[in-house]
């Protein structure tokens, strides 16, 4: 086993002429929880998408998961290698039950059925997910329930690297605490967790091993848990001023898939 679960070297990404990531370096050892924080437009969600292979960015550099290069792989293959993203907006999958979904994944990834059943049973107990197993994935769930379902899926599938994209967004303070507790109980020596977040409040309830601050497409500062205190007090503005960084313009927003749908207007 290599020393780092995730090793990112000089990752650059652009969309058309817009450069979003300008050389990101990051090393996350097994068993550790790292937080990547930054203001809107700093590139932290792009980093997540580049790692999972979501969009047609032009990407340079290297990202290795347990020593295996990810960036030349498909979304599916990266997941099979052990990368798993917890979504900021978990997608509703109508008509497909959560248990059924996990069975499909296990079948495709040749996880024996008994092994899956045992893990589902154990983790459903741990994360209070029994009532949701036979309901459609994410359909009619509250924001907090959706995030808990994401973490439950991670606990069942046990990825090498878990990336939590804004797992705390849109939640009230009680739900943030619940999600933080769930993240803590998901952690294991065989898993590295990368938590991407805009707000520092979730850091009140869990303690990352390292905190990285992103601005303008780079990691501009890395430190221990104490960095959360500075961000809580002075925000990104304080870090920006201390480091003397000018913020560049936000990258253009991508068209949502739903915008390709044509809703037939009703004439009455």
């Amino acid at each position: 086993m290599t020393s780092a679960a995730l090793l990112i070297r000089d990752v650059r990404a652009s969309v058309g002429d817009t450069v979003i990531l300008k050389g990101v370096d990051l090393e996350v050892p097994f068993g550790e929880l790292h937080a990547i924080m930054g203001p809107n437009g700093s590139g932290k969600s792009t980093l997540c998408h580049v790692l999972t292979g979501k969009q047609d960015y032009t990407v340079d550099g290297s990202a290795e998961l347990g020593g295996i290069e990810l960036l030349d792989k498909s979304v599916t293959d990266r997941a099979r290698l052990g990368l798993m993203q917890g979504f900021q907006y978990p997608v509703e999958i109508a008509g497909v039950g959560l248990r059924e979904f996990l069975e499909e994944i296990a079948d495709e990834r040749a996880i024996p059925n008994e092994q899956l059943e045992a893990r589902v049973a154990a983790m459903a107990g741990e994360f209070d997910m029994e009532p949701f197993l036979d309901r459609a994935v994410n359909v009619d769930l509250s924001g907090g329930e959706k995030k808990r379902s994401e973490i439950f899926q991670m606990a069942v599938l046990a990825p090498t690297v878990a990336i939590l994209d804004e797992i705390d967004s849109g939640l009230d303070i009680d739900a943030v605490r619940e999600v933080a507790e769930a993240v803590e109980s998901m952690r294991s020596p065989d898993m590295a967790v990368v938590m991407i977040t805009h707000y520092s409040r979730i850091l009140r309830y869990l303690t990352p091993d390292r905190i990285h601050v992103m601005m303008n497409g780079r990691i501009v500062e890395s430190g221990g848990p104490e960095l959360a205190g500075e961000l809580e007090d002075g925000g990104y503005e304080a870090v920006r001023e201390r480091l003397g960084i000018e913020l560049s313009a936000l990258p253009p927003r991508r068209k949502a898939a739903s915008e390709y749908f044509t809703d037939t207007p009703f004439d009455s």
């Binding site: 999972t52 979501k54 498909s74 979304v75 599916t76 997941a79 099979r80 798993m84 993203q85 979504f87 978990p90 997608v91 509703e92 999958i93 109508a94 008509g95 497909v96 979904f101 499909e104 994944i105 495709e108 990834r109 459609a136 899926q153 599938l157 949502a256 898939a257 739903s258 390709y260 749908f261 044509t262 809703d263 037939t264 009703f266 004439d267 009455s268």
Partner: protein, 433 residues
């Protein structure tokens, strides 16, 4: 069974259909014949036939002769239903087999019904769908000569389903299977109609189903259309729902080169209600064509329509749904949803929900979407390690699962689910989607 040759759709053929029939039926046939001779084949220039191309003329077809033998391969719909209240087979418009396992209900062929139940039939038979609706309804009124009549008497509740297996087998013919359902006051009945024909044989089917759901009665009625590819089916269905009565309808459309359903629901009596759940899945050059007319005629009536469809290859689907709410009625609720997946570039789905509201006291909703599989859910599934093909399969399965789980006959879920999944998986394996 009478034997006769295939006949042309001409006036002189009518006398050879059943021999001696009551005067009211002679008159009804004459009236149908009059409209048949007057009405033209429909053109896609007419709104109600838009997007539909008919590659035949009715007058070029022969009236199917009495059938020699039906399809002998397994009928998965019949197999899924378990114990039945009655079972009938109609082949090429003629009833070839009928059994009834319940006492005190009428479940007969129309041929036999004319002898024993003429009182009811003289009122109901052919009264559901107007002969001048289009040339097909006119031809049906003129030439339909057999079918099934079900009457469940007042206050009688029959839990097991009646199953009617409608087949078409004779090349180059048109057949007119007719089904009349009379559910009398406060009675309960459950009916499944399956349609099938062999692949690779050009033929036309023009079924009519008329259902009279009397005051306080409840009807569950599902149709499962899985005709062979070269079948052109133009079906009419009308359900009249009385005071405090309820009709739950399921419409499944999978087969046929053309599978058209002209469906009229009259939510007529005070407190009447209906739910329509359906799905269709077109491939190759199929056209699946749904024309729904939902008429709210009474106060405190409610309707809910939920239809989902998918098209792949060069298939086309059409849904037009007109919800009409008459004036001077109150407390009406009407909802209509139609969602469509377009899985290939050459395929198209047309969805036109419409409301005509003449009353003020209504709650209405409508929704209509047409589009490909969404990128976000695909990505979500793939990010869990599913291949793109498997992710697409799971999404198509889930898309239909929402309607399959709401069909009025839960027993139909398994065969319908399997047929839908098979269609998409085959297209995937052959690289068509």
């Amino acid at each position: 069974m009478p034997s006769r040759p295939a006949l042309p759709l001409r006036p002189e053929s009518i006398d050879q259909l059943n021999g001696q029939v009551p005067d009211w039926l002679v008159a009804s046939r004459r009236q149908g014949l009059g409209f048949f001779e007057k009405l033209d084949m429909p053109s896609s220039a007419e709104e109600v036939w838009r997007y539909v191309d008919l590659p035949f003329r009715l007058e070029d077809l022969m009236l199917a002769p009495p059938p020699a033998a039906g399809m002998d391969d397994g009928d998965d719909v019949a197999g899924s239903l378990g114990s039945m209240a009655g079972q009938a087979t109609i082949i090429d418009g003629t009833v070839t087999d009928l059994q009834v396992n319940e006492e005190g209900v009428v479940f007969v062929s129309l041929r036999d019904g004319l002898a024993d139940h003429e009182d009811a039939l003289s009122v109901l038979f052919g009264s559901g769908i107007a002969p001048d609706l289009d040339v097909f309804s006119a031809a049906h009124h003129a030439f339909a000569h057999d079918g099934v009549f079900l009457k469940v008497p007042a206050n009688r509740s029959v839990e097991r389903p009646f199953y009617i297996d409608v087949q078409a087998t004779a090349e180059g013919t048109v057949s007119f299977p007719h089904i009349t359902l009379a559910i009398e006051a406060n009675a309960e009945a459950s009916v499944v109609v399956g349609f099938r024909s062999p692949a690779g044989i050009f033929l036309v089917v023009n079924p009519q189903i008329e259902a009279f759901v009397n005051d306080g009665a409840r009807l569950k009625l599902s149709t499962v259309q899985r005709f062979g590819y070269d079948t052109h089916s133009i079906a009419h269905e009308r359900v009249l729902i009385g005071r405090d009565a309820n009709a739950r309808l399921g419409e499944v459309g999978l087969g046929g080169r053309l599978g058209r359903l002209h469906l009229t629901l009259d939510v007529a009596g005070r407190g009447a209600s209906t739910d329509l759940v359906g799905l269709y899945f077109g491939e190759q050059e199929q056209t699946l064509d749904y024309r729904l007319f939902m008429n709210h005629l009474g106060s405190n009536t409610s309707s809910n329509v939920f239809l989902k469809g998918a098209v792949e290859d060069d298939a086309r689907s059409v849904f037009t749904g007109l919800v009409k709410i008459e004036k001077d009625i109150a407390k009406v609720s009407a909802f209509e949803t139609n969602r469509n997946l377009v899985l290939s570039e050459g395929a198209s789905a047309h969805s036109v929900p419409n409301l005509e509201i003449l009353s003020n006291d209504v709650i209405c909703g409508h929704g209509s979407t047409v589009g490909p599989l969404e990128e976000e859910p695909l990505y979500y599934l793939m990010s869990r390690g599913l291949s793109e093909a498997r992710a697409a399969r799971l999404l198509v399965h889930g898309f239909f699962e929402e309607v399959i789980n709401r069909l009025p006959h839960p027993a139909l879920a398994a065969p319908v689910r399997e047929a839908v999944n098979r269609k998409f998986v085959q297209a995937q394996q052959e690289g068509r989607v």
